[in-house]
Amino acid sequence: MNYITTYCRITSNSISVNDCKTESNTTDLSSNLLEVYKNEALKYPKFHKMDLLAKAAFVGSELILKENTALGNYKDDEIALLFSNSESSEHSDSKFETSYKNNNPSPSQFVYTLPNILLGEIAIKNKWFGENIFLVSPTFDAGEIKQQIELMLMNSSKACFCGWVNVSDSNVDVFLFTIEQNQTEGIELTEINLITLYNK
């Protein structure tokens, strides 16, 4: 059996890990993520170079790893990364487009115009050499995500670190969760359970 063992929800003004919720009085995602970075003493200078999409995924992943320390027991290639969204890297795409329309194409912004860069950021931080995939879909598709997780766990991966990450100004929608096999604790991986947690 596969179980949802940790989950994290980030909106423009709140962050929760396994239902333990912290609210902020601003809806500025960037400053709220920075606040968590400081409060949790994450101490990872590369954070400041990341785009907003990668920052949201990174902060969420660090909070999950603090909550679920057993994830550290897997071998370096046993945790697969499976992230998805509907907006790809649009937040950074528009910044890069602005930079070249202003006659100054920014190489550092261009690098973040691929949604899978955040997979690299998480892999680098944790030295995870496992399987990686980034999916784009019109909406949060629990059935598709569940199927992709099952594929990964049937093959070489023992656990999946998953996320749905949109960070545009009008739509901050971040949901991260971990799936592990043969656990005695956790929520069974079903479409309904994924949708329930996503809508919480």
């Binding site: 070249y100 690299g120 680098i124 496992g130 990686n132 784009v136 594929l151 070489s156």
Partner: protein, 357 residues
């Protein structure tokens, strides 16, 4: 279970079918051409593999899908899944929804039973998509999977790679000592995987195995040790029960940037694959990003079918300490299986093995 792969199709500046692309490549032709003042400041020439003006990009995906050489009932079957691979989708229509519109437009224009998925894992997208297609069939989730890779040229992408100083001012030279960067390209390409051999109009090949692995090293620079590519090849060979001596040809990623090609040479040498005949197809198609994996797998399948391997266009002299057996003349070659690899931004690496049935 045997997973068949076939019906490969390529629409590129080099040709409008896999056969036409292969025939033209055999004649030493390339889709890359000079675009006057194509750079950001419009003061310098660029080499791009660009479609002629007037080609309807929106129609290409449907054309590719509807001209696949398979039993047409597969296209609408509820046992069929479609996987797109793309990095930027319909960016020329604007940034918003550029990628997800690949799915949205396709749903509206075709009669499909299942919603397609889209893999966007930079330059490894196409190879990952084919690996996932094979896994979906082996797991009995679907009987057939159609993988469609698309990416089109745009100012956005050209100026971005120029800002990274990654564009070559001449036709690219993968693995050559004088290589100085990539040429960008555009293409649409498809392959079909199925557990049912009779759906194919022409005899298919066999998908053996595939995998991906991250370098965990740098978001835009290749690993110095080729660790991710090494591990992906390892996983693909072992899960497919394939020995290195079974691999008769390698279709490398070979972008023609200095560090990428060196990284690949290191990874292949660590596996003892340095004597296997190898090419990069970037000299024929440029780097078609999210489509590249599907284009190059289709071309590798053509090479396997015709028992003929293509010259690694642009290569003359080795520039790396680690040797590779790079193909310098298009020539007949008897082989039963090939390895296709890809590496890209985000530290991703992927590989698959395909063999004769």
């Amino acid at each position: 279970m045997t997973v068949y792969i076939g019906a490969e199709h390529i629409i590129s500046p080099l040709g409008n079918s896999a056969e036409e692309n292969f025939t033209n490549a055999c004649e030493g032709k390339s889709g890359i051409r000079l675009v006057k003042n194509g750079n950001f400041k419009q003061d310098s020439d660029l080499y791009l593999a660009k479609f002629d003006e007037g080609v309807n990009l929106d129609a290409i995906v449907n054309e590719c899908f509807n001209s696949l050489h398979i039993d047409k009932s597969v296209l609408t079957s509820n046992k069929t899944k479609i996987i797109f691979s793309s990095t930027k989708g319909y960016l020329s229509d604007g940034i918003e929804h550029a990628l997800v519109d690949v799915i949205n437009k396709f749903i509206l224009s075709e009669q499909l039973s299942n919603t397609p998925i889209l893999i966007s894992s930079a330059c490894i997208s196409g190879v990952v998509a084919i690996a996932k297609a094979g896994e979906l069939i082996k797991a009995n989730f679907y009987d057939n999977v159609i993988v469609i890779g698309i990416d089109f040229l745009s100012d956005f992408v050209v100026y971005g790679f120029e800002a990274l100083y990654a564009l070559s001012k001449e036709v690219c030279k993968p693995f050559d000592k004088d290589r100085i960067g990539i040429n960008l390209g555009e293409a649409c390409s498809a392959v079909v995987l199925s557990k049912n051999e009779p759906i194919f109009n022409e005899p298919p090949l066999e998908f053996v195995s595939g995998s991906s692995s991250n370098d965990a090293n740098h978001i835009s620079g290749p690993s110095r040790t080729g660790e991710g590519l090494y591990r992906s090849i390892q996983k693909t060979l072992s899960s497919g029960n394939i020995s290195k001596s079974d691999i008769g040809y390698i279709s490398a990623h070979g972008t023609a940037t200095k560090y990428n090609d060196t990284m690949e040479a290191i990874a292949f040498n660590r596996h003892g694959l340095e004597n296997v005949k190898l090419n990069s197809l970037k000299g024929y198609f440029g780097h078609t990003l999210g489509a590249a994996g599907v284009v190059e797998v289709s071309m590798a399948m053509q090479q396997l079918r015709h028992q003929k391997v293509l010259q690694s266009l642009g290569y003359a002299n080795s520039g790396d300490d680690e040797n590779l057996n790079i193909i310098t003349t298009t020539e007949p070659h008897q082989f039963n299986a090939f390895l296709k690899t890809a590496s890209g931004f985000g530290g991703g690496n992927a590989s698959i093995v395909i063999k004769k049935t």
